[in-house]
Structures are given as C-alpha cells and as structure tokens.
C-alpha cells in the first residue's frame, strides 16, 4: 500500500500540473467495486447450474476494480486533457466543428426517446416514427431529393450505401459497369467506398481554377462508368463551377452523380444537390446539423435519392400510413438493410431538433455566415500564406505553407502545433492531398468575428515568427503548454502497444 497509484490526486489535470494520468488499470485494486444492482428474490442458481462446464470461464475476465469516486476522478481528469469545441475554436477543415446547441443533448437524453426499444411495435413508437418521417422530409427539402434512408451511421456508410444503390440501379437496367470517377481532391472515404462497392476508381484531374478538369473527365467517361462522386463545394472549399456540364456529361453516358454531403453547410438554402443534377446525396448530420462529434463519432449519414432510385432504398423505412399513423415499409426493390436497426436514432433526433431550431431562414443564414467567415479569414491570410486557387471560397479555405516552408522551414505541422499553444485547435493539415503543406481552415458560422480575428492574428504571428527566427521560431518547439508535447508517432507504429496488456 504505497503511494504508487494515487487515486485522488489531480496532478495530471492541466490545472495542477502535467503529470501522466495513470490508466484505469493502474488505479485498480482487487476487491474494490462501484457497481450494484436491483434487489430481486430470484432463485440464486450458481454459474455451474446455468452454464455447461466446458463453456464456463475458469476465472472471470479482469477489469479495473475501482470505486465510483476514482472512476469519476479518472475520467474527469481525462476530460481536462481534451480540447473540444466547448473550450474554443476548432477550425478543422472538412469537419464542420460548429457549436452544438445544448438543447439537443437534453432532447437526446429524454427517456421518452432514449429508452425506446428498437424492436418495440409501432404502437409504442409513434412519436419516434413521426419524427423520423419529418426528418426525412426535411432532408429531402434541403437536398432537393425525393426520399432518404436514415440508416447509415456515418458519411462513409452513406457513401457505400449510395454506391450499392448505384449498382442496383445499373443492374436493374441490365448493365454491368465497373468504374466510378472521383477527383484527386476527394476525401479518402470516397475511393475506399468505391472499392467496397465493387467498383474501380478512376481519378480525374483538377483544373487551374481548382475544379474538375472537364477534358480529363470527358476522356474518362464511357458506358463502363457507373457514376461520379463529387463533393461540391470541393475539399478545396471551391464551388464546382462546371457542375451543370459535369452532370450532363455523366448522365450522357448513363452514369449517376453521387454527392458527398460533407460540405453541405456552405450551400444550405442557396443551391440544392438535386438541382445541380445529383442523383444520390449523403449528408453528414454530425457536421452540417451540429450533432456533436463525440471524439470521433457517433455521426449519421442519411442518403437521399432522386425519384428513380427510391425503389432501391434500404429498408425498412419509417413511413406515414394513409390513416395518419406511422409505420415501417420496405421498398419493393430495396438493396436491403445496412444497419442493425434504424440508424443512429438519437443522432437523428438531434439533427431534427437542430433543423427545427433553424428553419429555412436559419439554415440560409448558416450558409451565408459560414461562407463569409471563410472568405474573411482567407483574405486576412493572403500575402502571408500561399493560396493555391485564389478565388472566392465557400465555407472553408485551403491555404498553404509551401513558400514559408521553403523560405523559413516552417511546415504546416509546425503551424498546427504552435496554434495549439495559442489557444486554438489546429486546422486540418496535409489535406487535400493535391495541395502541398496544406492548411484547411473551416471556421464555421458559429465563430464570432472576434474569434476569427484572433485566429487570423495567431496564424500571421506564427508566420512572422518564422520569418524572423527561422528554425529557432516558437513553432518548432511548440506545443509547450499542452499536457504532452510532440508525440512520437513513428514509435507508436513501430513498437505497437495497443492495449495495456501489450506494454513492455
């Protein structure tokens, strides 16, 4: 009983110091417990009476044994070692880290929704079903599509769903196509989904204005092309100016257009994917509609489709019955189920809440201000950072530290680390891949002009420091105020320790 494993000491919380927080396993003391259960007078059959001897564990799986008090201290301290939107700006490009309204948390916690069993009969879930049907209708109104599935649990799941819809569409027409086109700037989930959808990726180039290279596209198009996946605005934050031509060209060869909705925030109420000519659209509710990202999920990636694809949607789908009640129905030619149940329902509820809070006017303002913010910050950085495709951006802007790197040694990574010290999460770095030393900045509409100005000032300061001090600049040492400093990523991969039990 030495002081080796202090349970109640806050030395690892940044408030009091920067020591390592022990793992829960190190806080464990055999014989402690926090759990308790309902009292019941059921017969107390033994494990041996309930489980055949050959299947019964000889000894139980070892889990941490801690008091509720130590459990709380541990995870509260861990939370103090975690940056989040609620602490400050999080301009992580492509991720739309906007503020998540607190009312959505309460909505998702209400027993009337949170404690409904997914297999309960519709008589027990009319509220849920009505909400889901409404959400689907709203998503269709926003995207300009005819119907949607709410099952996909995230954007990538939506993509794969979309590709399977594409496949089914072509199959139904008796066609077997093998290729899907994506631009070089696409998010990694797009090509990965294409492969899982059973297609091959054909990459098309980017023109000097940052758009899809039409010649390259036309050269790639033939009747072996199942479709194209695009995000518009693109991952460069640019609106695809030639979208009408692209749509016409793809449709001409019988292909479908898939819209990666990760960047939908920029165009809410401005233009709808359906009107641009897209046939399939996924939405990232955790981005556009402010369902919190949860440290990496859960999200929700509903897929909306145009009329001719509705019959293929995954099922069962929540539907409004003719008598005004709500129920489930599976489309006749459904590709089948893609989630264990009905999708990430409590995430869907958050999005429903967000949409109600905003309405048509609120969503338009979201897009307008998101775009205003991105253009403003780009304008502030012009002249200091490179701007690869310098034309008006949508909700995010991609700048580059290429020149700075060449002249001062300052890399995008250094900028990111120094920004942490200056009180901000860093932008996305080294994405999209087609831009060197890329910094992808997405301020979102919920950050104030004052925050933007401070962020711009910080980015300009970092550049100035590098110009003045080169390799000796603060960024090269950064971050110095965080719970840990630069982390050895190479070692993590080389000597893999992925569980506490693998520690040397």
């Amino acid at each position: 009983m030495s002081a080796a494993l202090p349970g109640g000491r806050a030395l690892s919380a940044p408030l009091m110091g920067h020591e390592t927080e022990p793992t829960l396993f190190e806080l464990s003391v055999s014989g402690r417990r926090a759990s308790s259960f309902r009292t019941s007078s059921l017969p107390e059959w033994s494990a041996e009476e309930l489980v055949p001897a050959e299947l019964l564990a000889a000894s139980p799986v070892e889990l941490p044994e801690v008091s509720e008090r130590d459990l709380v201290a541990h995870f509260t301290r861990l939370s103090h070692r975690q940056y989040s939107v609620d602490l400050g700006a999080y301009p992580l490009g492509s991720c739309t880290m906007k503020y998540n309204p607190k009312v959505c948390d309460e909505a998702a916690a209400a027993a009337a929704f949170a404690h409904v069993h997914p297999a309960a009969p519709p008589s027990c879930t009319q509220g849920w079903l009505e909400l889901l049907v409404e959400l689907e209708e709203q998503l269709c109104a926003i995207t300009g599509m005819s119907a949607a599935t709410l099952q996909p649990a995230a954007g990538a799941a939506g993509e794969l769903t979309g590709l399977l819809l594409m496949r089914r569409y072509h199959e139904a027409r008796g066609e077997t196509r093998t290729r899907v086109i994506i631009p070089g700037s696409a998010h990694g989930t797009n090509p990965a989904s294409v492969t899982l959808g059973g297609y091959q990726v054909t990459t098309v180039g980017t023109n000097e204005r940052g758009g899809v290279d039409l010649d390259s596209l036309r050269a790639a198009l033939d009747d072996d092309v199942a479709g194209i996946m695009l995000t518009n605005p693109s991952t460069l934050g640019l609106f695809e100016e030639d979208i009408v031509e692209i749509a016409a060209a793809v449709h001409e060869v019988g292909g479908l257009l898939y819209y990666d909705g990760a960047n939908l925030n920029a165009i809410l109420g401005i233009v709808r994917p359906g009107d641009m000519g897209f046939d399939i659209v996924h939405l990232n509710l955790h981005k556009t509609f402010a369902t919190p990202h949860g440290g990496g999920g859960p999200g929700a990636g509903p897929v909306a489709v145009s009329k001719h694809l509705v019959q293929y949607l995954p099922g069962p789908r929540p539907v409004r019955n003719s008598d005004g009640t709500f129920g489930w129905a599976t489309p006749e030619h459904s590709i089948g189920r893609i989630h264990s149940w009905h999708g990430n329902a409590l995430v869907l509820l958050r999005a429903w809440t967000y949409l109600r809070l905003h309405g048509a006017d609120g969503l338009l303002a979201v897009a307008e201000i998101a775009v205003l913010n991105a253009n403003w910050i780009k304008g502030q950085l012009r002249g200091t950072y490179d701007i690869p495709y310098d034309r008006p951006v949508m909700h995010e802007c991609v700048v580059s530290a290429e020149t700075l790197e060449r002249e001062t040694g300052l890399r995008a990574l250094d900028v990111a680390k120094r920004l942490l010290e200056l009180g901000f999460h860093s932008p996305t770095v080294y994405f999209p891949l087609i831009v060197h030393e890329a910094l992808m900045i997405e301020p979102t509409e919920t950050e104030s002009p004052q925050t933007l100005a401070a962020l711009a000032d910080a980015l300009l300061l970092i550049a100035r420091e590098a110009q003045e001090a080169g390799e000796a600049s603060a960024a090269k040492q950064a971050p110095r105020t965080t719970p840990v400093r630069r982390v050895d990523e190479a070692r993590a991969a080389r000597k893999l320790v992925a569980t506490y039990d693998q520690r040397p």
Partner: protein
C-alpha cells in the same frame, strides 16, 4: 440574416463584407451558377425558439412508450435493457468528450486517446484476442468488417454463415456482399445449434470465413470448437459474434478458437435509444493488425519522454490508403467506446460477472415461468443464457401487441430472415439483471391470459 447560433451582428457583417469588397451576403455566392440558385428558399418552416421545439418534442414523446416501470422490457434481439448508472451518463456526457472530433492532434486529445486505449484493452480482454479497435458503427458493421478481414487475409470469398447469427446482421452482410462480391452460404440450426454437416459439401478451398454467434440469436450456446474445426479444415478464419455481457460468465471466444471477434456493445452503458447510436466491437489477432478496420490507439512517448497516446498504424486507413484501404470507416462511435470503458470500469471484474449471472438467472426463471403455461413450449433445447425462444399457440406479433397493453414488452417475434427453425409463433424473450421476480411473475401471468 438570422440564425439562433450565429453570433454576427448586422454591423459586423457589414464590416466583413466591406473588407471583402462585397456589398451583400448574396454576392458571396457569385460562383454558384445563377440558374441553379434556389429561388424561393428552402421549403421548410421558419426557425423556432428552443422552448417551442422542446414543447413539440414533449408532445411527440408522449406518443412513445419507453421501457421502464410502465412497460417492463423482455425484448432483446441485440438491444438490451441493462443497468446504466448515473455516473456513466455523467462522465460520458462531459462536453470535452462530446464536442471533440477524431484525435488528430494528440497533444490536445490525450483525454479521448487514453479512454480509447483503455477501451481497446477491455475489449481485447473480453474477446480473448490481442488487439481491439477503437469502435465501429454497430454489431452488424463489425460483422461485415470481420468478414472482409477474413476474406482479405485468406483470399477466399465464400462465407459459411451460421443461421444463429442475428438475422439483421446477416441482412446487412448480405447487402454489403453485393459490393464486395462475397458469397454467403447459410448454415442452418438444428435444435438451436449450428449444424455444419451439410456445409461439409462446400468447396473448402474457397472458404474465407466461418461465422457463428456465441451465444447465438436464440440465446443458445454454440459449439465453438465444432466451428473451429470447420475453419481449420477449410483454412478459413473463424469469426465469432459474441456478446460482451455474456463474456462475464463464458470462456472468451478467443480462448475457444476465434480469429476475429465481433459484437454489439450497446449493453455496455449505451441506452436502447431506438436502435442507435450503438457500438460495434471488433478484435483480432496481433498478426492481423494491418488489416484491422478503423482507428487504433497506441501508446508512445512525447519529446519529453512522457507517456502519450496517439492514433497509430494510420497507413491502414482510408485517408491515407484510399482505394486500397480495407475499410472505409472514418467517423466511428468513439463516444460509445468511451462510455463502454466507463461502464466496464463501473462494473469491474465482479460486476460484469454479476450482470451475466443475474441475467442468466432471470432468463432461466422467466423461461421456466413461461413454459409452465399451457401451450407455450421452448423453441430450442440447447443451453441458453440471457435470452431464449419459446413457441406460442398464437402469432408472436399478436401476443406482443396484447402484452403491451398489460405493461410488458414481451420480446421480439422471430421472423425476419430467420432460417432453420419453425418460426410460426416464435417469440424471442430476454431477461436482464434488471428484471425482478415480481416483474417476471406478472409477465407470465399476463402471457397466460393472452394465450388462453
């Protein structure tokens, strides 16, 4: 311009536009072809106040019947009414965990990274394998990824799929196999247990995965060793769908021979939530780690040699490997993984065992009480754990509807995609540690009325 969470005043907007040399917000969208612009705005109602929206949610809420005192839950089928204490909700809802994203910047993400590391350790222990990932969407998604891993590892794309696997998961696997091209071969149940006899005929050289569930969808405890020997014979990977709560009593799938363990983690602290967000558990051997789908957190050090955590082996993932990635998953279910780590910390060694044991007792008592009713028969004879199937003299859907009126969610009708057993009137009933004797007695009495 007005949106509830946009801070900008008109004046500020004016200044920002002036800086950009613009005179209206509309001009920001000059790159959008005029012909595409939405003329009349979105066809949605106008914004509403928080109070109005909450009011509407309350009204909708009254049209749901959540499980609880007035609807006692005997439904399972992959979603269980397990105890979740306040402390788990309290910690998991801390806004630092809620409002962060994927830990791309480890220096300011040690909280989430360490929590995932602890989660990975716990899942690895529960599964009996060396490596677990940082979560997938749900049990079905884990199954799909497990099969993909097996196919990639063996180069063989035939899948021997037990009829005891959750029919919803099988349906999902079937949907995605349209893209991957895997061939699913159903292996039926005999008296609740997978019967591999006919499967012997399958061209063994092409089998990439043998998939069973332990316990299976009917709550029966499969013979994992039998499945293991089929896998051995065919050179396939053995993929086991497991239940992390049952793991409190059973030998680990890994120790019984599983190569890949997948499962649904909802029972570990996540509410029923009408089916999501849930938690896909995924574990494999260290030798398969380069094919592991999804995020993986590893321990390392920082430049001051302090212990630190980081997302590692990133080269597997879609953002780097792109079309060659084995999985497309990006956003996963991290918050549920953090929740599970907290819940398992709350349970501890003894607590998890107790949940499993108390659930098994409740299930046995329920099974005895129900099958004591005239006309209600067990649907399978194999040993069961927390869940079991009974055959009713009336259609299961009818019984469920009638019992809702009595205040019981009786279970789940076995129908969709369920093969190998006569499903007419088959009801799948689950009992967790939260079920008391009084509740079970009341349920049995009500069912007796209904079938009489």
């Amino acid at each position: 311009m007005s949106a509830p969470f946009v801070p900008h005043t008109e004046e500020e907007i004016g200044e920002m536009l002036a800086f950009l040399g613009l005179s209206s917000l509309d001009e920001l969208f000059s790159t959008v072809p005029a012909a595409l612009r939405l003329a009349g705005g979105l066809d949605l109602p106008r914004q509403q106040s928080e109070a109005d929206v909450v009011h509407r949610l309350e009204v909708l809420g009254t049209r749901n019947r959540p499980v609880g005192r007035s609807l006692v839950c005997f439904a399972g089928a992959g979603a269980y009414d397990h105890e979740v204490p306040a402390v788990v909700r309290s910690l998991a809802s801390r806004s630092e965990f809620m409002t962060a994203y994927t830990p791309y910047q480890p220096e300011v993400s040690q909280g989430v990274l360490q929590a995932i590391f602890e989660y990975q350790t716990m899942v690895a222990r529960l599964s009996g394998l060396e490596i677990a990932n940082g979560s997938l969407y749900d049990g079905a998604a884990s199954l799909v990824e497990g099969v993909n891993l097996a196919v990639a590892a063996t180069g063989n794309s035939k899948i021997l799929l037990s009829g005891g696997v959750n029919p919803r998961w099988r349906a999902v696997l079937s949907t995605f196999s349209k893209g991957s091209g895997h061939e699913l071969i159903s292996v039926p149940l005999t008296d609740g247990i997978t019967d591999f006899n006919d499967a012997a005929a399958t061209d063994s050289a092409q089998v990439g995965a043998v998939v069973i569930a332990f316990p299976n969808f009917l709550g029966c405890l499969e013979d994992v060793a039998a499945a293991r020997s089929v896998a051995d014979r065919t050179g396939a990977r053995l993929v086991v769908c497991f239940d992390p709560v049952a793991a409190g009593l059973l030998k680990t799938p890994g120790s019984l021979g599983a190569d890949v363990v997948v499962g649904e983690g909802q029972g570990l602290g996540t509410p029923l939530g009408y089916g999501g967000p849930y938690l896909g558990l995924f574990a494999c051997h260290a030798s398969d780690v380069r094919r592991l789908p999804g995020r993986l957190v590893g321990e390392t050090v920082d430049i001051e040699d302090r212990r630190a955590y980081v997302a590692t082996l990133r080269a597997r993932e879609q953002d780097i490997r792109r079309e060659k990635a084995s999985s497309n998953v990006c956003t996963n279910q991290t918050l549920m993984a953090v929740t599970a780590a907290i819940q398992l910390g709350w349970l501890g060694t003894v607590g998890l065992r107790e949940v499993a044991l108390r659930s098994a007792r409740a299930a046995r008592y329920t099974r005895e009480a129900l099958t004591a009713i005239d006309g209600v028969e067990p649907a399978a004879g194999a040993p069961v754990l927390r869940e079991f199937a009974v055959r009713l003299p009336v259609p299961a859907e009818l019984a469920i509807d009638r019992l809702v009126e009595e205040g019981y969610l009786a279970g789940v009708a076995v129908r969709e995609g369920y093969e190998g057993t006569d499903v007419e009137g088959t009801l799948l009933v689950a009992a967790t540690e939260r079920r008391t004797r009084e509740e079970i007695d009341g349920f049995a009495a009500s069912l007796e009325k209904v079938v009489r």
